[in-house]
Amino acid sequence: MSGTIVDSAVFPNQTNTMAADISGQMLDLDEDDDLEVFSKQATRGSAFEFEEEEASDFKDIFVTVDNPESHITAIETFITYRVLTKTTRSEFDNSEYEVRRRYQDFLWLKGKLEEAHPTLIVHPLPEKFVVKGMVERFNGDFIETRKNALHRFLNRVADHPILSCSEDFKVFLTAQVWELASYKKQGPGLLSRMGETVRAVANSVRGVKNRPEEFTAMQLYVEAFSNKISSLDKVTQRIVKEQKEYLGELKEFGPIYTLWSGSEEELVGPLKGVAGCIERCCKETEEQVNQLSDTLVPTLHEYVLCSESLKAVLRRRDNIQAEFEAKNEALATKKVDQDALKEETDRLEDRVEWANSALKGDWGRWQRCMRGDLKSAFITTAQKNIDYYEKCQAVWETFLLSQRMDGSEDAEKDDSS
């Protein structure tokens, strides 16, 4: 497989054909419906429209990521994952697809989606590089964790009413390896992309002048949220660490009772009983720690990455507005080329409005997803803790019962002697 180098950050596409591209990727509305309808829908109110359309009984595309495999070439070693798709959508020629993808391909897809929809919230990918200490956090199985995160990423895209209709997404799911490679080579060349980058930087330096109140509120929220979710991530990791150390000590505790039972006669029963109980509690503690690492830690971590995505989305929206504002100013000050400028300004104004609607619409959706994900993760964690304590309680109660029975036996013996 040839290595296509994909930029890890893709700046907004500024071509004039954007409107046409977008309409092709919208929901299955009438061909005649255009931007207007979409905007109206979005501005009606953020909360409920998409929810109806995403009702789970409506789900018509199922994606799984599994089966990591190692590939060794002369140049590099990398892992590919199997991506299975089952769908009834008419845009797909078949109802089932099986392809192999590597992390780079996912990165490419994410970049394309963000390029096409700069103000839609795309679920984050797992980190590119192994951050020091991350391996231990994720139960030592980096590939397993990455695979799960990639699975979640694709499913989020598949569940998204707009993103799932993306042509790039379809190609990603269906194309064979060489087909994907050649598909990737299309699109704006390096030079034009560099030009876009320069423009984007200029825009962000210029800054936006009249940011609507709701987006400022959004930014404040995102900053606060990012802060809190990072804290939760750290706290949870700390808990995992403390639990592991507790487990370590507990593992030394039980054997001492067993050792002691070797010196005793009457106390052998209770001592071995206690040793056994502690051993079983160790197993339960280990399971609890694993659950924490498998469920809560990855979820929190994903939302840490999410909040970075959100910040990027807000930045991109600001840039779009900044570009429009700049052109608008130019329109007011320059005397020449008024018509061309007017056309350009109008186009940019539409673009701003479209970007704002997209974001507002997606914002509610994201919030719902976030609430659902975190709520579910916390409930699972709480339940696991309940299970853990219930199991341990049962272990100790069985021991107590055995001692009570021995106790009453002894007393009976004395009564008779």
Partner: protein, 451 residues
């Protein structure tokens, strides 16, 4: 009252929320335990029960602790704690008649003095230990300061336990010095020193640490000594690891408190999730706080283990004393044998064993008959003395073995009972901890579901 019954009592006692009430309950319960439960197990205990120990006649408790300041032996100001010993004759408590107890204050060093006296006076008894002088096996949150109120409280309980054990012992409870300790505040120290036990105390310490080889020790005592070493090693290991486990558990619980803080802050920026998060946060705080009570209860378990760590030392001392007496007997016997040989040599002129005198005789010629007579006479005297000594030592040894073995048996049964109860109470504590955990996380889960 059967073994299983007082486990239930213990469960009740540990679940009483009102601390003062619980302490009162525990005190009377503990005293009850020493008088009644002893009759549950073997015939030895029944005999003990029948011989009226002090505890059957006198109600004893260490009711309070107070700080005092005073000048010490080098005339420097020091702060120390005194403990209130309350006693009340049991027959004075009748229906409707509840007389106030007699009381006096004692400090820890006086308890130590009492114990040292008992150790020396009854070397064949496994003397109950005192609570530790300095806090050891401390997990990091627990204070190692002797003036810390929690330490003082645990010490008060330990001192009471010591007195109850001594006062319910068939032999120790009859001691006059003990009675004086409990009932007369002043001049008790002088009375103790007048017994002259101090001299014996010093020689005891020296003897117990001396190394000597015993040829024919009573195998049972040798085994017991090995056992006491094992018990000491095991309990100290157990206490060390338990402290580390407690430390770690503390860490786990306390970190959850951070959830409380962050949830609360987060709830401020959320609309739908706000309430759920806020209340879940409260439960996380409660969870973090619950570990303090859990570990405080566990300290009681640690104290029970510590008591037997120190008991192991007392047991070891009893076994060593046997070896010492046996050694003295063997030394006296072999001295006697060698003196008898020397007599034979002198009498018959036959050199049986090597002796310096024999050698010098060979080298420098025999001594004069008068000298020989004198020496023979001396030897005869020494042999008579020696035979007396051997007789004394033999009977001392036999009596010691008999008395000590009785007490060792008593100790063994007490230990089996107490440690089993301790293990059961540990299980009870674990169950209680699990129940609290279930409660908190069930509440938290409900809050999450409302998110």
């Amino acid at each position: 009252m059967r073994c299983c019954d007082y486990t239930i009592q213990l469960i009740i006692a540990t679940n009483i929320k009102n601390k003062k009430l619980a302490n009162q309950f525990n005190r009377s319960f503990v005293a009850l335990r020493y008088t009644i439960h002893y009759c549950c197990t073997s015939s030895i205990q029944r005999m003990t029960h029948q011989s009226s120990t002090l505890l059957r006649r006198l109600e004893i408790s260490v009711a309070e602790a107070e700080k005092r300041t005073g000048k010490n032996t080098v005339n420097m100001q020091e702060t120390f704690t005194v403990y209130l010993i309350e006693t009340r004759p049991i027959d004075a408590i009748t229906d409707g008649h509840n007389p106030a107890p007699d009381s006096l204050w004692r400090r820890y060093s006086e308890f130590e003095l009492l114990r040292n006296y008992l150790l020396v006076t009854y070397p064949f008894i496994v003397v109950p230990p005192l609570p530790e002088k300095r806090a050891e096996f401390v997990w990091h949150k627990l204070s190692a300061d002797n003036l810390d109120p929690d330490f003082v409280e645990r010490r008060r309980v330990g001192l009471e336990n010591f007195l109850l054990r001594v006062a319910s012992h068939s032999v120790l409870s009859n001691d006059k010095i003990l009675y004086h300790f409990l009932t007369e505040e002043h001049e008790w120290k002088e009375v103790v020193y007048e017994t002259g036990f101090q001299a014996k105390a010093d020689s005891r310490i020296k003897a117990l640490s001396a190394t000597f080889r015993v040829k024919n020790p009573d195998k049972r005592f040798t085994e017991m000594r090995h056992y006491s070493d094992e018990l000491q090693s095991i309990t100290s290991q157990l206490l060390r690891v338990r402290a580390r486990v407690a430390d770690r558990l503390y860490g786990v619980y306390k970190v959850h408190g951070n959830y409380g803080r962050v949830f609360s802050e987060w709830s401020a920026i959320e609309k739908e999730m706000g309430d759920g998060l806020q209340s879940a946060g409260h439960h996380m705080d409660a969870y973090a706080a619950s570990v303090d009570d859990i570990l405080e209860e566990e300290e009681h378990y640690a104290d029970q283990l510590k008591e037997y760590l120190f008991y192991a030392e007392a047991l070891r001392a009893v076994c060593r004393k046997h070896e010492l007496i046996q050694y003295e007997l063997e030394t006296a016997s072999s001295d006697l044998v060698s003196k008898k040989h020397q007599r034979e040599e002198l009498a018959t002129g036959m050199v049986r064993t090597f002796s310096f005198k024999g050698m010098t005789n060979k080298l420098f010629g025999q001594e004069a008959p008068e000298q020989r007579e004198a020496r023979l006479g001396l030897l005869e005297e020494q042999i008579v003395e020696g035979e007396e000594t051997v007789k004394e030592k033999t009977s001392e040894c036999q009596e010691y073995v008999k008395d000590a073995w009785v007490d060792i048996q008593r100790f063994k049964e007490q230990k089996d009972r107490d440690l089993r109860e301790a293990l059961v109470s540990y299980a009870v504590m674990q169950i209680s901890m699990c129940k609290k955990g279930i409660q908190v996380w069930t509440n938290a889960k409900e809050c999450f579901q409302k998110m």
